[in-house]
């Protein structure tokens, strides 16, 4: 049976791992290769690196990191952040990443999703959607707006419709982050996860808000996600991946142990 996936996420800047709370306050939490090797050994199913390097030498810094990571782990990994063209994508895939994640560039140039999927295959094109609840928020008529630039810009795009559009354009997976929940450790936005999961037939990776093992279970049972992304819960050693998977298995969720 296909296992639900647990995916630690590493935010990286200038080749170092950092983790943001609401993407603003950053804390240094180590070397990307060391973190990746540790997660591989612990039984992570995949890894995601979100790069926020702002340097003009960004591509070199990132490709060097991707190469170092690829040389040391035996699980798939995705790299996202600042990729704007087919050339950017190719550089990351050539360096050894298995997938790339497109966010702002997909919103600004939706045809990039079609081109990337056609050229590299849907299986390596993840579209990241950062969604924020439209206020006043009503569970009877819930609406989310897509944001870009780490949540700082609103786009007027409605998130569930945008998810459907990128699916039709050839995205292979959707990495769905709730900007309301991200950094709160109060749980995923499972209404958002479920609404997106039910409107596309590609996997949805739930992201933003995981603080407990119960939250992981809810992403699958309530949010209908195929995978759950988490950062803080694993980074600071509160739980190991193994503990998380044991917990999920005991709740009848298929995991790879």
């Amino acid at each position: 049976m296909l296992a639900r996936r647990i995916i630690p996420c590493l935010d990286v800047r200038d080749g170092r791992v950092v983790k943001g709370t609401h993407f603003v306050h950053l804390r240094d939490a180590g070397d990307p290769v060391e973190c990746a090797v540790r997660y591989d050994a612990e039984g992570a199913d995949e890894l995601v690196f979100l790069d926020i390097t702002a340097s003009s030498d960004r591509r070199n810094i990132v490709t060097r990191m991707v190469r170092d990571v690829a040389d040391n782990i035996y699980i798939p990994f995705t790299v996202g952040g600042g990729l704007r063209s087919l050339e950017d994508i190719q550089a990351i895939l050539r360096a050894g990443a298995d997938k790339v994640s497109l966010n702002t560039a997909a919103v600004e140039t939706p045809s990039l999703v079609d081109e990337a999927a056609r050229y590299f295959g849907s299986q390596c094109i993840v579209v990241a959607i950062d969604a924020r609840r439209v206020q006043p928020f009503s569970p009877d008529d819930p609406r989310w707006e897509v944001t870009t630039h780490g949540g700082r810009r609103l786009t007027r795009l409605e998130a569930v419709g945008w998810a459907r559009e990128v699916f039709e354009r050839g995205a292979g997976e959707i990495l769905l982050t709730s900007m309301d929940c991200d950094g709160t450790q109060q749980g995923y936005d499972n209404l958002l996860n479920r609404m997106v999961a039910e409107s596309v037939s590609i996997p949805v990776i739930a992201s933003g808000g995981c603080g407990t093992l119960e939250h992981l279970a809810d992403a699958f049972l309530v949010g209908k996600a195929s995978a759950a992304l988490a950062a803080s819960i694993f980074h600071y050693g509160r739980h190991t991946i193994k503990e998380a998977k044991g917990f999920l298995r005991d709740r009848g969720i298929p995991v790879r142990l």
Binding site: L2, D40, A70, Y74, G96, C124, S201, P203, S226
Partner: protein, 205 residues
């Protein structure tokens, strides 16, 4: 003298060759990446990797003179392992983006997952159940997880060519074998210890 355990990874411009090369080295093999038909013809063992579209892959193989080289090598019994799209290329026809002719080393066709409600691509870790013992799967427990990412699957014409199944909205053939040609639908180079074990086994075929 110890056997050299060498393998040529066929480079036709598609696929994550670096990861495969690294995984082969990790299990004591000596991998060489080549796009030279002469090197392919003379190889001790071959790995046919592949990520992307079937038609593009066949075009690239043909353009580089590799189609005939791979067929010749397979014809004389050189152990060959197709990975993911590389498995699908061993077959005769694919219905991906129109109809395409494959290498025809294993009779059968390539079809798209089309069950309503099923996520396509099939992405993630899924279990492999062997139908009978095969040296490629030696030491790999039943139900072991491997990493898959694909939208199409193979359907061997001869049932005996399907040596392992995986369940995704029904059973599909995740490991095929015909003579000295094997193919796996998953990515052993991304499947941790079980993936390495499979590559280790291939080096001993």
């Amino acid at each position: 003298m110890t056997p050299s355990r060498s393998v040529v990874i066929i480079d036709y411009g598609m696929g994550n060759l670096r990861s495969i090369e690294k995984a082969i080295a990790a299990v004591g093999g000596n991998a060489m990446i080549s796009s030279d038909p002469g090197v392919v013809r003379g190889a001790e063992r071959l790995i046919l990797p592949g990520v992307g579209a079937f038609g593009d892959a066949m075009d690239n193989l043909r353009r580089n003179g590799l189609e005939e080289a791979v067929k010749e090598a397979a014809g004389k019994g050189t152990p060959l392992l197709g990975l993911c799209l590389g498995l699908q290329l061993l077959f005769c026809d694919s219905e991906e983006f129109g109809s395409h002719r494959g290498l025809g080393i294993v009779p059968g066709k390539v079809r798209r997952f089309d069950k309503p409600g099923l996520h396509v691509p099939h992405v993630g870790w899924n279990q492999v159940e062997s139908r009978w013992p095969d040296p490629l799967l030696s030491g790999i427990p039943e139900g072991s997880y491997f990493y898959f990412v694909h939208s199409y699957f193979v359907e061997p014409r001869d049932d005996a060519d399907a040596i392992a199944w995986t369940d995704y909205g029904g059973r599909f053939c995740s490991v095929a074998r015909r003579g000295s040609a094997w193919g796996v639908q998953f990515h052993p180079e991304k499947s941790q210890e079980m993936g390495k074990r499979l590559l280790y086994n291939f080096l001993r075929t």
